[in-house]
Symmetry: C2
Subunit: 349 residues, 2 copies
């Protein structure tokens, strides 16, 4: 019995993958209308700080994982004291905090964008002096899909942006003139096996992932380097599970990579694996946390994954192209900006 914190589409897809391996799943989520509740009879509807509910959940399962990196530290610690929590609390703590994450990466000689911690307007002023403009001011915690950040183009915008962003502290990141964003989904299990999927090239719209295309249009050398860096990260974290690593590809005579961020979970830019890999990222995560050997991440075809955002879902099934495999999340309310499903389109040679 796999315990999953979070009842969104990632939890749902993890549950479906666990079911294919003959396992049962128990979903813990405060929201009774969560899509993951539709794919298993085992559920807890409770707040993430409800210790009685957490204790009952831990008793009911063999191992615990999560679909989102903002699991409260106290919740993670409480659960980890009762049952194996995979990935562990340390990976969670690092990826919850942009500054801690960047410090960790820098300590492993993994390139990240130049940045400065910002706890006051005075810090921000000094950071702008050091990094120049434009630059991006971000919260260190709880940011996602473009939320919790603001691009500064002019020093006059600094005070307003500082006031608007919370929680503090913030971080100012130098603007990286990148060509493309790529990502690598990598897995490590408790026995130390490590496998990476091919890199995907990501395009965002309105700060939300729009498409992931595989293979990415980068050199074989750069792709190999990205996979290597992703592997270094999971080994350094003593990580168990699937982890997503987003990179900027910085142009130059020899293009280089910078890590934008890491996510201690299955990743939207890895949804393409479902259509063309023998083992998809969801099954790979379940294998890793359940103590199985890792599966084969080999890719059988070229593919483009496209997110269905808001009412985009209404084009399914009517507007589907040939060679396209849809995955819908069973959400009933197609609000603007909401991830409703995704499509995988095979690209034939």
């Amino acid at each position: 019995m796999i315990g999953i914190l979070g009842g969104g589409q990632l939890g749902r897809m993890l549950s479906l993958a666990a079911s294919r391996l003959g396992m049962r799943t128990h979903i813990f989520c405060p929201d009774a209308g969560s899509p993951a509740f539709e794919v298993t009879p085992h559920r807890t509807i409770a707040a993430y700080d409800d210790e009685a509910a957490l204790a009952g959940f831990a008793d009911a399962v063999d191992v615990i994982t999560y679909e989102f990196e903002n699991v409260p530290a106290a919740t993670a610690a409480f659960l980890a004291s009762r049952k194996p929590l995979r990935p562990g609390p340390d990976a969670l703590a690092i990826s919850q905090d942009r500054l801690a994450e960047k410090s960790f990466l820098v300590s492993k000689n993994i390139p990240v964008a130049p940045h400065r911690a910002v706890t006051s307007l005075m810090d921000l002023d000094a950071a702008i002096d050091a990094l120049g403009l434009p630059a991006v001011l971000k919260t260190t915690r709880l940011g996602y899909d473009g939320k919790g950040q603001s691009v500064l183009r002019d020093r006059a915008e600094a005070a307003g942006a500082f006031a608007a962003l919370s929680p503090k502290p913030l971080v100012l990141e130098a603007f990286v003139p990148f060509d493309t964003e790529i990502s690598v989904v990598v897995a490590r299990n408790a026995a130390g096996e490590v496998r990476a999927y091919d890199a995907a090239e990501n395009v965002h719209r309105h700060h939300i992932l729009h498409t992931s295309t595989v293979p990415a249009k980068i050199s074989p050398g750069l792709e190999k380097h990205a996979a290597m860096l992703a592997k270094v990260i999971v080994v350094a974290l003593d990580y168990v599970g699937v982890l997503g690593v987003e990179f900027f590809v910085v142009p130059g005579e020899r293009p280089s990579l910078m890590v934008n961020e890491i996510a201690p979970r299955v990743h939207n830019s890895g949804h393409w694996t479902e259509a063309v890999c023998l083992t998809d990222q969801f099954e790979q995560h379940i294998r890793a946390i359940a103590g199985w050997p890792l599966g084969d991440p080999t890719r059988l075809a070229d593919v483009v994954m496209e997110n269905l955002i808001g009412e985009g879902v209404l084009n399914v099934p009517g507007g589907l192209d040939r060679d396209t495999r849809p995955h819908l999340y069973g959400k009933t309310d197609a609000r603007p900006g909401r991830k409703m499903g995704h499509l995988n389109r095979i690209v034939r040679p």
Copy 2:
């Protein structure tokens, strides 16, 4: 909301496929320990002749399907009067009865093994005169996995076999000296679209399917012919859903095909589609019964599907070959002869 009669592995895999399309499923099964109950919160545990339970089930769903062809006719009629039952009661009635099935096929000029109805020992004697020995005596109803049949090699065995087999009537089938057995999984939706998967070559052990290999080692002409016959069957039945057709390949200067049997449901010999097709047979069935366009059945790689029978499941995950994708059904009791899961092994060029 898709209603599914039957809570075994086929119902479970249909439910998982429906979930990938954003649909919900409700499982109806008398056995509280059914594996399909683990993949949805919506269930009815009741006998198939419990009209109150059937009515409640029909009220709760939008369309009803089934995972096994032995749904009682009264149950099918009761449900079909309340909600769309797909495939319909006619297809069910024909496939429940070997004699009706063969008569239907013969009426459509589809070749089947020579056979005679047997309601008495006198019939059996005359049938042996007509068809010769060896021959196979079978029940017309409720047979599966080699149950409900007996090979007659000698006239002296006739009376004993006749007495042992029930329910009556029986059917005597001429022994077909076939090379191989192949099967075709075909789908038709309410709009009349028809798509067939590539033929699989099947090997049985102890009367239970052991492996399905794709492509089958038959000529392209014969494969095309098999697909055509399968399509003729679903059109003739005005069928909605996925149907499995088993053929004998009869040797000769020009090898020919005979239909062994048809199954009005997803088929064990189509489990390979899960690993190498953009749309697998389970999703194809859900698409068909839900009024969606059919998906693309194109195959991306060669594959061998192997059933995990009884304790064979204990080799997972430890004994898995590279390139192998397992699917386990979540059954806890690995009884001899019980289908516990299957493996799909990709065959690389």
